[in-house]
Amino acid sequence: MTDNSPTAAAAHRPSLDAAAHVRRRYAAERRFKAIGLGAIFLALGFLAILLWTIVSNGLSAFMQTYIRVDVRFDAESVAGEDYQGAIKSALYARFPAVESRGERRELAALLSSGADTALRRMLTADPSLVGTTKPVWLVASDDVDMAIKGHISRQPGASGNRLTDRQLGWLGELEAAGTVEKRFNTILLSSGDSREPELAGLWGAVVGSVFSLVITLIVSFPLGVATAVYLEEFAPKNRWTALIEVNINNLAAVPSVVFGLLGLAIFLNFLGMPRSAPLVGGLVLALICLPTIIIAGRAALKAVPPSIREAALGLGASRLQVVNDHVLPLAMPGIMTGTILGMAHALGETAPLLMIGMVAFIVDIPASPLDPSAVLPVQVYLWADSPERAFVERTSAAIMALLLFLGAMNLAAILLRKKFERRW
């Protein structure tokens, strides 16, 4: 009994140490979790700030100020296609007191210089309007739009006013009469670019981006998957394949602007393809995507358990049958994830497209991948560079469209992947 007590104490002491050790271990784990959570919340916070800035800046771009004017469609101005004149006379009729040339010019500047297209469209749709007088909602100029939205001062006499005191007076009068209204901005979503912010739209850039990405996908997906399959499943493992592998990994890290220069040299200067066209843009983006797709594809193929390959080989499947029937379908979800990542990367690329002339000011909506076109990120870049106040909100709106596009692509990828996975 007396002999036992020191042994018991000796057995007890390390357990005291152990308790302290366990406490330290738990504390370290709690600290680590706290740091991780902190990092995540910090990231989420920044993301929220970013999104909030973009949305709060860009949301107002989806509304546009319109002014109602009673336009007389007299046969004379219709025949001469002088819709601008018809609008002006309507404005002068609304404010009969305005007589001097300078004042009249200021008055006409309340409306957009492109307001007449609406009249032309109305008349083409309904020729019987000739000779009648109709109230028409016409697009206001960007300055009026900014003033109504509160982005620029409406205080008469304030320094740096874009609108003159007289214009502000007329605007107040029109507003009091209920003939100024903010409406949903269909122009932004349906037209091409313009020098006038109120007439500038995203649709040209959206179509250009779609064309480019389709070309990118068509070129880079089959090439990338074929390369990944060959390197992973067929190629002998020797010095040459190792060299190729290293180079593919390096290509993934090459600045994208270099690919733009390559595209300029090969596609435009050597092959003589059209400048500013989504075809060339898509090809350049495909070059940028390829390393990503190949690397992701090889990783996905590597992740297929070797036992599946052995099982198929043991049954007498040829190597191609093993790949086609088993390995590739199993790797497909992973390959698709990689492809979408690459495509999302390509969607946001600006620098290489500047090199091949996609930074040009293009008003027309491209009808084919061979037409000159802008793409969304370049449109953002162009608008962000424009001095007009009204382009600030439109830049944010373009970013929102870009993010929406990206979200739609990711959603499509997830849905596709789910569908593919269920088949197995």
């Binding site: 036992s307 599946i308 052995e310 099982a311 198929a312 043991g314 049954l315 007498g316 499947a317 088993h326």
Partner: protein
Amino acid sequence: MSHSPSLPAKVRARDINVHYGDKHALKHVDLDIHAHEVVALIGPSGCGKSTFLRCINRMNDQVDSARVTGLLTLDGDDIYDRAVDVVQLRARVGMVFQKPNPFPKSIFDNVAYGPRIHGMARDQAELDEIVMTSLERAGLLAEVRDRLDEPGTSLSGGQQQRLCIARAIAVSPELILMDEPCSALDPIATARVEELIDELRENFTIVIVTHSMQQAARVSQRTAFFHLGELVEVGDTEQIFTNPQHPLTQGYITGRFG
């Protein structure tokens, strides 16, 4: 069970050497495998028994560094002849692996895959027939008859291994190689697979690698003991387990090393 020596061997191995790079994995192996017998390959890990097994259906071709020399014949035809097509060889020599490895497809498609790629069925009815017969012979049909559309991976481990056996026999091979087929199974599933092996002996020749001495004793007619890449002793299973000629064999089966 002894064989008349006049009967030609199904598989004849003469002076088989396998190198993996610099490693000499199999040294001068001579072994005959006769039709309709179960031959067990036993020996400690890394002794070359799996390597020998994989020579017979040329699965070693997959390993870049592997080099096989010597004469290995199946019904008198040199397996390593240049003219031999491995796809056709593997249709004659089926294989069951250590870990059950069903394809992530339906039970039906698992069994139907071999017949499909070898064009063994002219129409769906024939394919159905082959699949049903194979599942029946693998003793699995009763358990899966109502759920042939479910993925093969949804079965239990023992069922999966029997599915793999059904998949292998659907191609009607002459020889089935089994690489520790029961090492991932519980005793009950193991017993079922062992029963199955005994039944399959009627139609197939089986070479089985096993770490379980009891299993070798239960299922095989002849046993070959490998040690460090050499074939130490081969003989009737009963003789190997009751009266081993070589001290190494004796040491191994009595559990003194291994």
